[in-house]
């Protein structure tokens, strides 16, 4: 498996670096970041809500999610990739490329802690355990430590309101780069959502699923200001036995299933992305397997809207609604022929846009 060293990555960025600096704050309307692929070329892009690509920077391999904090945008390699690229959207600092250490790969997601560290979900694949790698943006994203996620196959994670706790979706699937996407522990999966102390990684709570749901991999999440964590799952069992794909977790309470009723089957056992809209208290979930997106009311789980769209996956809050992207090049109302957006879209907050 290729390891992307800092030098090699920066060399590979080439002319893109010169084109990168831009005053995001000067652009009109909300902005978004997403990883994309066009032929053999991989990139991270900044787009407006109309889907216009304002800036684009090459990545050395397939990217997955993007996170923001401390004035940086960080794009992660999709699993089992090992590179990450931090970009200053204000353009004042040169991009910083960094890599997961030997024996680890990224899962494609990360979040900034209240202490200003970047916590990235990683696979310690020889030991088969999930970790959060801690990277210090004030020191060139040097890896300064790690915390166990208390589960196998951590995927998405989120910082809860107030900043005291992290929620991590331990999907439960053990994989190894040597065997591709093959799941090594289907018979012994134990998916969970773990709540960790965001300051020191101490495990505060760990919520597992019922035994009959052991193949229900918790994967993607977003949250509402009341602390509700909405988790989209991926079912690895027989389709006839698929549990509800959207679960809600609350610290101190455990989980509740939010069944989608007749629409559930349309997701084909897979939620590719989850996004919450705090302005409306709504939650969107998508499935590129089922070519479908839904919006539910966060408080009740009531299905509000269902939308058919080929390869829809990326979704982020935009105004009172959501903007969606797809593997067929759709972003909001725009269609980019020959281009495919990866699974996630990040809505840039004004602080990151200004580079604060």
């Amino acid at each position: 498996m290729a390891q992307f060293g800092r030098r090699a990555l920066l060399q590979g960025l080439g002319a893109g670096l010169a084109a990168w600096p831009f005053r995001a704050a000067a652009a009109a309307g909300p902005l978004f970041a997403a990883a994309l692929v066009e032929g053999d070329a991989h990139a991270i892009a900044i787009l407006d809500r109309d889907g216009a690509i304002l800036r684009r920077l090459p990545l050395p391999g397939r990217g997955h999610d993007v996170t923001q904090g401390r004035g940086w945008l960080v794009a992660f390699a999709r699993r089992p990739g090992t590179f990450a690229l931090a970009i200053d959207p204000a353009g004042g600092r040169a991009p910083v490329a960094f890599a997961a250490p030997p024996g680890r790969h990224f899962y494609g997601h990360g979040v900034f802690t209240p202490d200003g560290l970047l916590a990235a979900t990683e696979n310690d694949y020889e030991a088969g355990r999930g970790m959060l790698g801690l990277y210090d943006p004030s020191d060139g994203f040097a890896r300064i430590g790690e915390w166990p996620t208390h589960g196998i196959g951590p995927h998405d994670l989120a910082l809860l309101p107030g900043g005291a706790r992290l929620a991590v979706a331990n999907g439960g699937m053990d994989t190894h780069p040597d065997t591709g996407r093959e799941i090594l522990n289907l018979a012994f999966m134990e998916p969970s959502v773990a709540f960790l102390d965001a300051r020191d990684g101490t495990l505060l709570e760990r919520h597992t699923l019922p035994a009959a749901w052991s193949r229900h991999s918790t994967r993607h999440m977003d949250l509402l200001p009341d602390g509700s964590v909405f988790v989209g799952c991926q079912w690895q069992g027989a389709a006839a036995e698929c549990p509800p794909l959207l679960l809600r977790f609350r610290f101190g309470e455990g989980h509740a299933a939010l069944p989608l009723g007749a629409a559930e089957r349309a997701f084909d056992g897979y939620v590719g992305s989850v996004a919450a809209n705090p302005a409306r208290g709504t939650v969107a979930l998508t499935s590129p397997h089922g070519d479908v997106a839904a919006v539910v009311e966060g408080a009740t789980g009531r299905l509000l809207h269902l939308h058919r769209q080929a390869e829809v996956c990326g979704v982020a809050p935009a105004g009172a609604g959501f903007v969606r992207s797809s593997g067929t090049g759709a972003f909001g109302p725009a269609r980019h022929a020959g281009l495919a957006f990866d699974n996630h879209v990040l809505a840039l907050d004004p602080a990151s846009r200004a580079g604060d």
Partner: protein
């Protein structure tokens, strides 16, 4: 006007997917034929496991070299029958860890080996009774355990009374294999079961509510099945210094069935492709594609035939052959995902087969 949610959902769900899905009697005929092929394959698994029960019982009753050879032959038949079905992962084989009970693989952490060695060392009485073995680890009751018992360290004792415990253990494993195989075969033979739901999708089914659901599953079988063969079964041969009779990380290295099992994996997918008469779905438009797939299957089976020939070809030639198999399985995987999927009205963009 406010449209009731249920009506709005039904309207949205009734919209066609982005690509056109084949429909009508030809599709149901193809799906029925596919279900018949799968059902026949599982019958073969159950029958071969039952023959292994007979052979191991005979070996235990009267241990001898001849009886051991017969048991090993029956084991090989069971492995090859299972290998034909191994890439086809949908329906009852995903329930109650049935696939892992048949064969716990890959087993990177050596769980199965540790457990079988411990059971032998301790002469654990629970493993010689199929009823109690059923309650033990799934890694202990499948073909991997049978292989170790029949071909592993000190397997020769099976030909003598000294191997009585080991033989009873093998007979119990054979009984568990027969029970698991029969369980899955019965589920496919049930006239009201999976086969009917798959071939005749209906909105009240939990799994196959539409032709799209069934076709998406069928395409997924080919794409994911071929990827599993490519990444998990063929790739181990490509490591530096790999043993061409059974490299580290390959299945069936003790019994020498690594190559024949890959050939059976491919034959199983070919059987399904031919059995389902997929070409009948859209013959006019896509005849060259179906011809190409059929040609690639023939090519792969010929390559694996040469690779597994008796006497085996020289080492260098075997390396070339398996290298060609690796390339061709990768090509066919991409053909299924990128070309067969859209030909059957399914999305084909880069994320369609991903779970991430």
């Amino acid at each position: 006007m406010r449209i009731p949610t249920a009506l709005a959902l039904s309207l949205v769900l009734a919209l066609p997917a982005a690509a056109e899905t084949p429909d009508g009697p030809a599709v149901e005929a193809a799906l029925s034929a596919a279900a018949d092929t799968v059902a026949t394959g599982y019958e073969r698994v159950a029958t071969s496991a039952e023959a292994l029960v007979t052979a191991t019982d005979a070996l235990c009753a009267e241990p001898s070299g001849t009886a051991l050879t017969r048991a090993r032959d029956a084991f090989a038949d069971a492995v090859l029958a299972w290998s034909r079905m191994e890439p086809i992962r949908f329906g009852p084989i995903l329930s109650d860890n049935a696939a892992e009970r048949m064969h716990f693989f890959p087993d990177r952490r050596g769980i199965g080996l540790r457990q079988v060695q411990a059971a032998l060392a301790e002469t654990d009485p629970a493993v010689t009774d199929p009823a109690t073995l059923a309650g033990r680890s799934v890694a202990l009751q499948g073909l991997g355990t049978a292989e170790y018992l029949l071909h592993g360290t000190e397997a020769g004792t099976l030909a003598t009374p000294e191997g009585a415990f080991r033989c009873d253990f093998a007979a119990a494993v054979a009984a568990r294999l027969a029970a698991t195989g029969q369980e899955v075969a019965d589920a496919w033979a049930d006239p009201e079961g999976i086969a009917r739901r798959f071939a005749h999708p209906a909105p009240d089914h939990a799994d196959f509510q539409s032709v799209d659901d069934a076709l998406r599953t069928l395409v997924g079988v080919f794409t994911n099945g071929m990827e599993g063969i490519h990444d998990g079964r063929v790739a181990p041969y490509l490591e530096d210094g790999a043993d061409m009779t059974g490299p580290r990380g390959a299945a069936w290295t003790r019994s020498g069935l690594s190559g024949p099992a890959i050939k059976a994996n491919l034959a199983g997918l070919r059987d399904l492709f031919e059995g389902a008469r997929i070409e009948s779905l859209n013959a006019g438009d896509h005849a060259p594609l179906w011809d190409e797939i059929a040609f690639e299957f023939d090519n792969l089976l010929a390559l694996m035939g040469a690779f597994t020939a008796d006497p085996p070809p020289p080492e260098a030639e075997r390396r070339d052959l398996i290298g060609a198999v690796w390339l061709a399985t990768g090509t066919l995987r991409d053909t299924f995902g990128g070309r067969m999927a859209p030909a059957l009205g399914q999305s084909a963009a880069f994320s369609v087969t991903d779970g991430d």
